[in-house]
């Protein structure tokens, strides 16, 4: 930390600006975390039945203002989803402020920043060394080139590397499930303690955090451990190289850096005043070489204001560009490096598409059940940036990041896993928070095919009669039919004779009407055959697909009964 007494005279403005940066970072990080916690439906005592299906805050705001996401979707689809226009504003701001977004706003940047400040063991020369420009910091430009070319080839796989997507996924699908597990466990432990005071604590805690930190339906994340490990690796890397992710890998940082070519601000270095003490480089968060004598790396500087506020001699200042400054305006990239990135991006997509690692070509994996409102798979892969918002908001813990169900290309795209949770009959939350319209907005009427709307179907249920209690064991059961949410129901019970152990038993057995099934998976979830249900859903018949259909004719329109007078 700066020693305020000596610096205030020459660098009061810069110290104040550095504090402004810290305050801004904190505010945006808190806002980011708040919006993630607020990624839930409006429920509670004060909420009307009619409005309970909506999301109270613009919870996808940080993804909306991310220019990389906007650019990826624009390149892959040839259109810009309305909300992503905000990203272009941020990109526009980069023309003036370069990577100011990274240093002041980006929540992933702030998390890295905080992580790099915890328990600093390097001092003096060793720290200066760590915060100096490195050749591997150019990797991010290669990644950016690859991500953008992959988008041109019709894949939003770049979302895996986008920092806002990374932060959203990391917090939503890593931190929150942990908190849920820990809080839930503590609440259970206290409740079981037989000590009334502890039981009250447990009850009160539950009511305070229900739906925010603890979830009644649990919060398990399929393949979540992998997401956790990678997120932790990103944060832990700061221990060795401060803001390693931001400096070396982040494609958004690369995009903003390049866009800042003609930035309005420049670091002005006064060589006469400089005594080469090197303090300016001690905490340079971008490794942008602020020391007079080195060339300032414009595309690496995130305007953290550390260098200017620690300089005792007043040798450094940010001034309007145009004045003499000793800078490297664009990263010193060899054409070969950029082309290499582009080629990697260009080669990866055809390799995955033709090599069986993509969900776009070939037959679908039966478990690749997409959320209701998901657009056709080819379009979906152009849009889904794997931010995990849909998985966070799903009230039934039904949506999970795919591991291999959608191929490597579809890593961490959302799939519905009925064994863990089913699609709630009237819920449209995931479609409301998707920032890129990979899940388009659906209405409650579409969910159930009511009021003339065509029913959105995400799959079809199939009976496994060898495991079904009535069919195989002559034991009465109707739970699948009871939970089937469509009207008329897709599961019908018919009285029939079945043979069990050589005896004829008369009882009601279930049948499925595939034209009425919307694939919600409630039947599979509630089936008393607990390990591998006797009725299971596959993506067959999903209404978004033209090919993945089993019935001839138009997709089902619900038969409706006339209303009683």
């Amino acid at each position: 930390m700066a020693t305020a007494e000596n610096t205030v005279k020459v660098s009061g403005t810069w110290t104040r600006l550095r504090w402004a940066r810290r305050v801004t970072q904190s505010i945006f990080l808190l806002l980011f975390l708040f919006l993630i916690l607020a990624t839930a439906a409006m429920t509670g005592a004060g909420i009307d039945a009619a409005t309970s299906g909506s999301v109270p805050y613009p919870v996808e705001a940080f993804l909306d203002i991310d220019p990389l996401i906007g650019l990826i979707v624009a390149l892959s689809t040839g259109t810009v989803p309305g909300a992503l226009i905000f990203g272009l504003l941020v990109l526009g701001s980069a023309a003036f402020l370069g990577r100011g977004f990274c240093g002041w706003i980006c929540p992933m940047g702030t998390m890295n920043h905080v992580a790099s400040q915890i328990h600093q063991t390097r001092h003096g020369k060793a720290r200066i060394d760590r915060n100096s420009p490195r050749p591997y910091n150019k990797i991010k430009y290669v990644i950016l080139a690859g991500v953008l070319v992959a988008a041109l080839f019709g894949s939003a796989i770049g979302g895996l590397f986008d920092p806002i997507s990374l932060a959203t996924r990391g917090v939503s699908l890593t931190l929150l499930p942990w908190l849920n597990w820990i809080f839930g466990g503590a609440i259970d432990l206290f409740a079981e303690s037989n000590i009334p005071a502890l039981q009250h604590v447990s009850d009160a805690t539950y009511d305070a955090v229900d739906g925010v930190i603890v979830y009644q339906r649990g919060f398990l994340v399929g393949s979540g451990t992998l997401i956790s490990v990678l997120f932790i690796v990103v944060l832990a890397a700061n221990r060795w190289i401060p803001r390693f992710w931001c400096r070396s890998l982040c494609p958004l940082g690369a995009l903003l850096g390049v866009s800042g070519r003609f930035g309005a601000l420049a670091l002005h270095k006064d060589h006469d005043l400089c005594n080469q003490c090197g303090k300016c480089q001690l905490d340079c968060s971008g490794a942008a070489a602020p020391r007079p004598g080195d060339r300032w790396q414009r595309a690496e500087c995130d305007l953290c204001m550390n260098c200017v506020s620690v300089c005792d001699k007043g040798a450094l200042s940010f001034r309007l560009a145009g004045e003499k400054s000793d800078e490297q305006a664009l990263p010193d990239l060899k054409r070969r490096t950029v082309i290499a990135g582009a080629v990697i991006g260009a080669a990866t997509i055809p390799a995955m598409r033709t090599g069986g690692l993509s969900s776009v070509e070939g037959r679908p994996d039966p478990a690749r059940i997409r959320p209701p409102g998901a657009v056709d798979e080819k379009e979906f892969i152009k849009r889904c940036i794997r931010c995990g918002q849909c998985m966070k908001i799903c009230p039934n813990n039904a949506l999970h990041p795919a591991l291999d169900e959608a191929g490597i290309e579809g890593l961490w795209t959302p799939i519905l896993v009925p064994a863990t949770g089913y699609c709630e009959p009237t819920c449209t939350l995931c479609s409301q928070v998707c920032p890129t319209a990979a899940i388009r907005r659906v209405s409650e009427n579409e969910k159930l095919g009511k009021n003339g709307a065509r029913m959105v179907s995400i799959g079809t249920a199939f009976f496994d009669r060898g495991r079904c209690l009535p069919w195989a064991m002559g034991t009465p059961c109707t739970v699948c039919e009871e939970f089937c949410p469509t009207s008329p129901k897709a599961i019908l019970m018919k009285e029939e004779e079945v043979e069990v152990l050589g005896r004829r038993v008369k009882l009601k057995v279930p049948y499925l009407d595939p034209s009425q099934c919307n694939g919600c998976g409630a039947c599979e979830y509630v089936c008393p055959v607990h390990d591998k249900a006797a009725i299971r859903v596959t993506c067959s018949g999903e209404s978004r697909s033209r090919d993945n259909q089993l019935l001839l004719g138009k997709p089902a329109r619900k038969k409706e009964r006339p209303e009683h007078s």
Binding site: I47, S52, Y206, E482, K508
Partner: protein
């Protein structure tokens, strides 16, 4: 280590060890787990939850009230002698609606919220210390509680709405024909009085779901196995919980596609509220609303045989009010 043991050090160590062991023992005693069962009310018997109030000499009767949800509810309770007959000042009351499904009130899959709010107010007016409204939903409970309108209406009326969180269940011995030890929602049974407020609906397997079937909502765990012996388990539950009062919402009745419905074409406006202290009689009347006879429902006969009430409507006085 060359600073060798001496007496003082030895005694200190022993003392510290004793304190540690005592502490661990005390913690263990405090946190001891008695099988997580509720202590048996009567060690000889099963844990029957008898919430019945003394009825004096007026006996049981079946009240059918016509009108809008609030006034029909008030009229029905008035005809039974007023809430004061059932609830003493200072008692705690549980109201158990059906909040099973992700449905709005017009779809008639859950109890009408206005029936609940009317009952909450009557209980509080009768001097109830607390009124808890709770249920174990089938769909996601926060969504069900909100979209049914019950969370809002009941809270506004002054009730404490309790969500069926996992930590609120305890194993009870129901001691029934098919139901043994089951997790029970403690918030639903830890009270002086219990008012069961079902909604009259069609049900694919039991034919009709009303008062007794509504008690499924106090159970946790894997309820999906109960359907294998549905009639026995319904009767077992009615034996386990003997409500103070049963108030059936038949303002809107789901005629088919139950118990979830979802289509307004499945709903009929009946505008009735049925109340009695005899839950079997309420169901015997209720099934008629969807065109069934009491003899169509085996669980009614089972419950009658257990002495829980009458399935024969000719044996119970009936009063129609509005």
């Amino acid at each position: 280590m060359n600073d060798s043991w001496n007496r003082r050090r030895f005694l200190n160590r022993v003392a510290a060890g004793c304190v540690g062991i005592a502490g661990a023992t005390a913690t263990g005693i405090l946190l001891r787990d008695e099988g997580r069962d509720e202590p048996l009310l009567d060690p000889k018997a099963v844990q029957v939850r008898n919430f019945r109030a003394h009825m004096g000499d007026s006996g049981e009767k079946l009240v059918i009230a016509n009108g809008d949800p609030s006034s029909a509810t008030r009229a029905a309770i008035r005809a039974l002698g007023g809430m004061e007959r059932f609830i003493q000042s200072g008692e705690s009351v549980v109201i158990k609606p059906n909040i099973g499904w992700d449905r709005t009130p017009v779809q008639a899959a859950n109890t009408n919220p206005l029936v609940i709010s009317a009952l909450v107010k009557m209980c509080l007016d009768a001097g109830a210390a607390t009124v808890v409204v709770t249920d174990h939903s089938c769909n996601e409970s926060r969504r069900c509680f909100t979209r049914s309108g019950i969370w809002k209406e009941a809270s506004n009326a002054g009730a404490v709405v309790v969500l069926p969180a996992g930590h609120r269940f305890r194993i009870h011995d129901l001691g029934g024909m098919v139901l043994g030890k089951m997790p029970v929602l403690t918030a639903a049974v830890r009270a002086d009085r219990f008012i069961n407020v079902p909604v009259a609906k069609h049900h694919g397997m039991s034919g009709f779901t009303g008062a007794m079937k509504n008690l499924y909502g106090v159970l946790g765990g894997r309820r999906n196995r109960l359907h294998q012996r549905l009639d026995e388990s319904i009767a077992d539950l009615a034996d386990f919980i003997r409500p103070t009062l049963t108030v059936m919402d038949a303002t809107r009745v789901l005629m088919r596609n139950g118990p979830q419905g979802g289509n307004l074409g499945d709903v009929r406006s009946v505008n009735q509220v049925i109340a009695s202290t005899d839950q079997v009689a309420v169901d015997a009347y209720g099934c008629g609303l969807i065109g069934l006879k009491p003899t169509d429902l085996p669980y009614l006969a089972l419950a009658q045989k257990k002495g829980l009430g009458t399935a024969d409507l000719s044996t119970i006085p009936r009063e129609e009010v509005s």
